[in-house]
């Protein structure tokens, strides 16, 4: 089977690459061995929230203070500034509306009742311009009876510190009694499925409207709109106070919706999506990758002019750690990181953990290497890359979106060069 580009991994990075390239008329296939980290999405994409422990105001400026091996430094500041404008437009074309700018972080309320700086926030959620004060004095937190994945007391404690007067209420609904029979299934995605259809949303809104009469806002868990994209707007229209949604314990309802919308956009553009399949190995000729083999396709190879490795970090097994060291499991690519186990961790769990920086080593054009030699037509994007600590920096989605757009540009350029050559 022949494609222009085969992408390994169907998370935020793989899908971003795929959509960008398909928009430019390239024929792409994505192979993904399962669902991705977007299922744990908080509702906000971070670009750069902290450098050396200090909160960042203007991410574009603060990129300067990052080490030179950081993916942002290697994409280059001018490119980052340009691509950071493009990213929300790409998401918008896929049907997701995000608010925010790379020139100035805004703030969102966390499920701990604290404020967190971020770059782009999905329109389900509420963005705040400042983090020292909340524009409200009374809030009602409403939870669903029996839903244990939304920690109202943490939120209440946090908000009280901002001087907000908070009341917590529960709403019981007959629709959830069946799910509640099995306590472990009262999870956000199952609740969202109930709100996706029928009149549960109307009934819920009616009950909530009776509870929060004295409040400026109603705070609810983000369990609205899983397969039905219209639910969050419908909810806000039915509740007669401003609604602030807060993330519940994953899997995240808005995250799953985003994953589905990205995948649909890719497929609507004509992209081929192989879910539940795993790339096993590749066949090289000289420094070029000729094709890859997958579990499902067996002897039928996936050939392409270009390949993109977007297989994620440790969580998605893009990088693995074994008793004898670190490795990249598909091609055995060079990995940046220590091989001795003792050096992986800092015993203080909240410190900057060395292993978080580990990933695939790439050349200036983001091409991974084997024994120091770059593979000519293989590129790497997203959290599989070495050189950053997304957790400490608050840079996870930013690295994925921007390195993916950058890599897609490299490929488009590469192909243009080749065409000119011919």
């Amino acid at each position: 089977m022949k494609f222009d580009t085969v992408i390994i991994g169907g998370g935020l990075s793989g899908l971003t690459c795929g959509i960008r390239l398909m928009e430019q008329g390239r024929k792409c296939a994505i192979v993904s061995s399962g669902q991705s980290a977007i299922h744990f999405f908080s509702g906000s994409f971070d670009l750069l929230s902290r450098v050396n422990g200090q909160e960042v105001t203007n991410p574009l400026e603060s990129i300067h203070s990052l080490p030179s091996e950081h993916p942002y430094q290697r994409v280059g500041q001018a490119n980052i500034a340009r691509l950071a404008e493009e990213a929300p437009q790409l998401l918008d074309r896929a049907g997701m509306v995000f608010a925010g700018t790379a020139k100035r972080n805004h703030f969102v309320l966390t499920p701990m009742g604290t404020m967190k700086p971020t770059w782009l926030t999905l329109d389900d959620f509420t963005s705040f311009a400042k983090n020292d004060k909340l524009p409200l004095s009374r809030a009602t937190i409403v939870n669903l009876q029996g839903f244990l994945d939304f920690h109202t007391l943490f939120i209440k404690d946090g908000l009280t510190r901002y001087g907000v007067e908070v009341q917590v209420r529960n709403v019981a609904m007959a629709q959830f009694e069946a799910i509640r029979r099995n306590p472990s299934e009262m999870r956000s995605s199952n609740i969202a499925k109930v709100f996706d259809q029928g009149d549960a949303l109307d009934q819920f809104a009616e009950k909530v409207n009776k509870l929060g009469k004295e409040s400026d806002v109603i705070i609810l868990p983000a369990v609205f709109g899983l397969f039905n994209t219209t639910v969050p707007a419908a909810l806000k229209a039915r509740i007669n106070k401003p609604v602030v949604l807060l993330p519940a314990v994953p899997p995240s309802t808005p995250g799953i919706r985003c994953q589905i919308q990205l995948r649909q956009r890719f497929q609507e553009l004509g992209g081929t999506h192989f879910l539940g399949d795993m790339v096993r190995e590749g066949k090289f000729k000289g420094n070029r990758l000729r094709y890859v083999n997958t579990n499902n396709h067996g002897d039928i190879q996936l050939e392409a002019d270009h390949f993109i490795l977007a297989s994620g970090s440790f969580y998605s097994k893009g990088i693995k750690a074994g008793p004898y060291g670190l490795f990249e499991p598909i091609f055995g690519l060079d990995v940046d990181g220590e091989n001795e186990r003792e050096k992986w961790f800092d015993k203080q769990v909240f410190n900057n953990q060395p292993y978080m920086h580990y990933g695939v080593r790439t050349d200036a054009r983001f091409r991974p290497m084997i024994n120091g030699q770059p593979v000519e037509n293989l590129y790497a994007a997203g959290s599989v890359l070495a050189g950053s600590n997304p957790l400490k920096e608050g840079s996870g989605a930013g690295i994925c979106l921007l390195t993916s757009l950058h890599v897609a540009e490299q490929i488009l350029q590469d192909q243009d060069d080749e065409e000119r050559y011919i």
Binding site: Q35, F274, G322
Partner: protein
């Protein structure tokens, strides 16, 4: 460092200990959506398995029976846990209830098919009669909404021996055809269509030595010993064709193919290593030839159709719908639309059972709605039970991609291409 030095350690057959408890599988389980009595893949699968290993009393037969074995949870799981296999393996290992008469009848597609074919006109009219369906509903608990697929008077095997067998020796290259019960008893035309295409492509089509039902319904109805017996028999027949005679095996049913390739080793413990790779869907076999430029199909100039493809669950798991859709897309004049990949709810015999009727229809509803809204001439799908379910639940006509290909193929022109070589 090179790969997988680490992998072999400490991994169970179904990778259940790889579960990170992320609950993603539950999001995509079609049963959880409509039947709250089902605990969901995570609970029924890896979580339950941990408990069952401690104490088999934790096995909950009634709950686990609700699993369709559609494997959509496995396709979604980021950690490679074979959740569907964990659940089915638990039913096999811990199940104590003997199958009911109804389950035994429905599971024995082979036996029932043989008897029904002999009396096809009587059986077809009888089981279609409303009072009979009411009795079947009351006594056997087969839902009265269900209409049984018609039995054909002449079995495919009989037709083959009379009209096709002799001609197949004239080909240098041969495949064997695993026709399955559906083609044999209900719809021999599909088998005839396959032979037409393969012969046009320069391949003779043989039958296996005494093919038996793949056993999928036996497995899901708890008749595991019989399923394993049939599996061993089939594997021997496949070995004879593939290893001894060098004839790869093709099928027109995604479920038969999936069962032979994956359920035999995973659930029945029947080793199929030496035949697995060469047992596949006919559309994949053809795609490989065309992709490798070893075959060209010529289609009729005046063919025109609007078709929507439905991805059966087992095709989703196999990851093979691309082969069927790519072949369909090669037909000039055929406009193909892809339906969202969703379960139709029937899952073999599951949806025929009275107690499952509502769940099955609830599961299939989003698909039925999409089909009714699609402006197409027919639905294409590789699974016969999906075909029944869609035809019972919508106004659409459903065809196997092989039937569509046979319809659109210009036999003489295709034949001429390889005969010239």
């Amino acid at each position: 460092m090179k790969k997988d030095t680490f992998e072999p350690y400490n991994i169970s057959d179904n990778d259940f200990e790889q579960c990170v408890k992320c609950t993603i599988c539950t999001v995509y389980c079609p049963v959880v959506l409509v039947n709250p009595d089902y605990p969901g893949p995570k609970q029924a699968g890896p979580d339950g398995e941990r408990l069952r290993l401690k104490n088999p009393d934790y096995f909950d037969e009634e709950a686990l029976k609700l699993c369709l074995n559609c494997k959509r949870c496995e396709v979604a799981c980021p950690s490679g846990v074979k959740i569907g296999d964990v659940i089915q393996a638990a039913r096999i290992k811990y199940g104590t209830k003997r199958p009911t008469l109804r389950d035994a009848i429905m599971a024995n597609t082979d036996l029932v098919g043989t008897m029904a074919s002999a009396f096809a006109p009587i059986v077809n009219t009888t089981v279609a009669l409303k009072p009979v369906r009411q009795i079947m509903d009351k006594v056997l608990k087969i839902d009265h909404h269900r209409i049984f697929p018609k039995y054909s008077g002449e079995k495919f095997e009989t037709w083959y021996r009379k009209h096709a067998a002799a001609k197949q020796d004239g080909f240098k290259k041969c495949v064997s055809y695993f026709h399955g019960c559906y083609v044999n008893y209900n719809f021999p035309q599909l088998g005839k269509d396959l032979i037409k295409i393969m012969n046009a492509a320069g391949y003779g089509v043989k039958l296996l030595e005494k093919e038996k039902c793949c056993g999928v319904a036996l497995i899901s109805n708890g008749l595991v010993k019989q399923a394993a017996r049939q599996a061993r028999h089939n594997v021997r027949a496949l070995q004879k064709s593939i290893v001894e005679n060098g004839h790869p095996v093709v099928s027109t049913s995604s479920t038969c193919t999936f069962t032979i390739r994956d359920e035999y080793p995973h659930l029945l413990g029947v080793n199929n290593e030496d035949v697995r790779e060469q047992t596949e869907l006919a559309t994949r076999f053809l795609f490989r030839l065309i992709d490798g430029e070893k075959l060209q199909l010529v289609f009729k100039k005046n063919y025109s159709a609007r078709v929507a493809y439905h991805t059966p669950c087992h095709m989703e798991k196999l990851g093979w719908s691309i082969y069927s859709t790519s072949l369909l897309q090669m037909i000039p004049g055929l406009e193909l639309m892809q339906l969202d990949s969703q379960c139709c709810g029937i899952a073999g015999t599951y949806g025929f059972k009275k107690e499952n009727y509502e769940t099955a229809q609830g599961v299939g509803q989003p698909l039925f709605t999409q089909i009714e809204e699609a402006d197409v001439d027919c639905i294409a799908t590789d699974c016969e039970t999906c075909k029944w379910q869609i035809e019972m639940s919508t106004t659409a006509k459903v065809k196997n991609p092989v039937a569509i290909l046979a319809d659109a193929l210009d036999i003489e022109a295709t034949q001429a291409l390889w005969q010239q070589q």
